[in-house]
Amino acid sequence: MRRYGLLAVAALVGGAGVLWAASPVPSAKAPAIPQRIVSINLCADQLVLALADREQIAGLTKNATDPEMSGEAVKARGIALLSNSAEQILAIEPDLIVGMPASRSAALAALPKQNYPLLDLATANTLNEIHASIRETAAAVGHPERGAALIARMEGELAGLPKPGKGRVAAYYQRRGYMTGTGTLIDELMTRLGLVNLAGQLGKPPLSQLSLEEMVAAEPDFLIVESATDVVTDQGSEMLHHPAIKDIPRISIPQAWTVCGSPAYTAAARSMAAQIARIDRGRS
């Protein structure tokens, strides 16, 4: 795989340490199927869980079983959760470490000899990048056919998806008024559904803070919120329930589906489309 080689070079040039100095660079084409996979990133957790056999996985991050954070939380139950400490990784002696990227992990840098095979995944902000991550992970865990099947399934789920947005404006509004901007997975989801991202209209960076006043003045057609903020648990989520914005129609999706570029992308897209359709039906 082309990207694999490039990453190895990049890691060497980047001074992250000699990664595969002792062992030959593992070829993605003919890997000995790894049996002690460790994931050191929440997003990598989900890909590994979706593509590797359970027996192959030796450790995941501590948030892997949190249904609020991970779309594959149920599958993660029972698998060892690591607190990203070098000691735990050392004890497992993994034969594949998956991270985002793995080579820049502080825990790995602390290990005396970094000769574990690493898989560096890039942050996926588009569907194509999600597909690339799936392909890379599937190949690295020794099941490339599962990757192809998963991608085909996702394509199928997205195939008939309507574009109910019709150019209307939506804002992804988070606790304390943080708003997600362009160049993000959320932004791509909005575009896919025919919505226009308010942050893009206002020329805001990928993450910006918008006060309630500004939100009221901007008059978006939809607010997209994390379903975790549907109930008020603290001051941060209380803000999203302020009477001033209660009349703006809401689309609520679990953070677990969108925090990572993961197979849950299709679930997010379908849920958003269904919610827009429901809001439109309610209006007519």
């Binding site: 606790r175 304390r176 008024g177 803070q209 006060s211 309630l212 006043e213 500004e214 009221v216 003045a217 008059e219 648990t233 603290d234 001051q235 941060g236 209380e238 803000m239 302020h242 009477p243 001033a244």
Partner: protein, 333 residues
């Protein structure tokens, strides 16, 4: 009699005018530039949805809270300074505000506030009351006014630590940001729900404190003389404790612990009066309302990427006053 003393009514009128100006300013300025004409049109019932929501749902509750919380803090500072005969006494220096914040945090983050709306101000008041009781026990009958301040620091530090601990223990992954709001105070994103929580508490607390004027005047002659003049010291103390706790508790429950308002205002007001404790009570309340409303206007106007916390502004205003009086006390060390 101070050189600058004004007739009482003219002082109150001038302060009221200042407060009115601050309140109008607070309604006119915000994150979104709205013309005065548009705001007036929205206020007089013209159909302008955006302006109406911004004015009535966002700026009006915020302004009312700034006025009420500021008045309460100013009044509590004046009353505590009078009763304790200590120029540094005020709710935040004595740890009362932070203890109230601890009560509020406990109510909100462990789901107690969901049981009934009254639980939030109740727990905040409880926290404030507990801290004041602890403070009076700790400082006892000590001669030096600094003993009281040191006891206040101990109580306040304990409350801050308790707040952080409570938030860290609560099942909330965003604890750090929440801690900051509670410790520095903010009136951002408040709604009328918060006004209805705070206002009854503040009204009740303020009444109890304003009632104490005569007793406070008598106390300037010392406790024995005050008793000889017919002051019921126990009743006075009880009214002061409970009034401060309810008022500050209700205020902090919605705004977080905003520091130094109660310290600054009485010191600004005192030279303009005959310096008797009773004379500064009401003017301190009005002045506190003006000061906090202006400070809250400041955090909105100062261009920062994230809105400044109110406590930041009041600390910059208050710490010099605090230091000035600390220096004067030095001869007692």
């Amino acid at each position: 009699m101070s050189r600058f003393a004004l007739p009482r009514w003219s002082l109150i009128a001038a302060l009221s005018l200042l407060t009115l100006v601050a309140a109008v300013g607070s309604l006119l300025f915000g994150a979104v530039d709205l013309s005065v004409a548009r705001l007036v049109a929205a206020a007089t019932g013209e159909d302008d949805r955006v302006a109406a929501i911004i004015l009535f749902d966002l700026r009006l509750p915020r302004t009312l809270l700034a006025l009420a919380v500021g008045a309460m803090l100013g009044l509590a500072g004046a009353a505590l300074q009078g009763y304790l005969r200590n120029p540094l006494a005020e709710p935040s220096v004595l740890g009362t505000s932070n203890a109230a914040a601890l009560g509020g945090v406990a109510a909100l983050y462990f789901g107690i506030a969901e049981l009934h709306p009254v639980m939030l101000p109740l727990l905040a008041t409880g926290g404030a009351l507990l801290s004041l009781a602890l403070l009076f026990i700790l400082s006892g009958k000590a001669e030096s006014p600094l003993t009281l301040i040191l006891a206040g620091i101990a109580v306040g530090t304990l409350a801050v630590a308790g707040t952080s601990l409570a938030l860290n223990l609560s099942p909330n992954p965003f604890a750090a940001m929440e801690i900051m709001t509670w410790l520095l105070g903010s009136l951002e994103n408040r709604s009328f729900d918060h006004v209805w929580i705070a206002l009854p508490c503040i009204a009740a607390g303020a009444m109890m404190l304003l009632w104490n004027g005569r007793a406070l005047d008598a106390l300037t002659l010392g406790e024995d003389a005050a008793q000889a003049l017919g002051t019921d010291l126990r009743r006075t103390r009880l009214r002061l404790l409970v009034g401060t706790a309810i008022g500050v508790g209700g205020a902090v429950a919605v705004s977080g612990a905003i520091g130094f308002v109660g310290l600054i205002v009485p010191h600004l007001i005192r030279p303009l009066t005959d310096r008797s404790p009773s004379a500064i009570l009401l003017p301190s309340a009005i002045g506190g309302a003006a000061l906090l409303t202006l400070a809250d206007l400041g955090v909105r106007i100062i261009p920062t990427t994230n809105e400044l916390k109110l406590g930041v502004v009041t600390a910059f205003l208050g710490v010099p006053v605090f230091l000035l009086h600390l220096m004067r006390e030095r001869r007692l060390w």
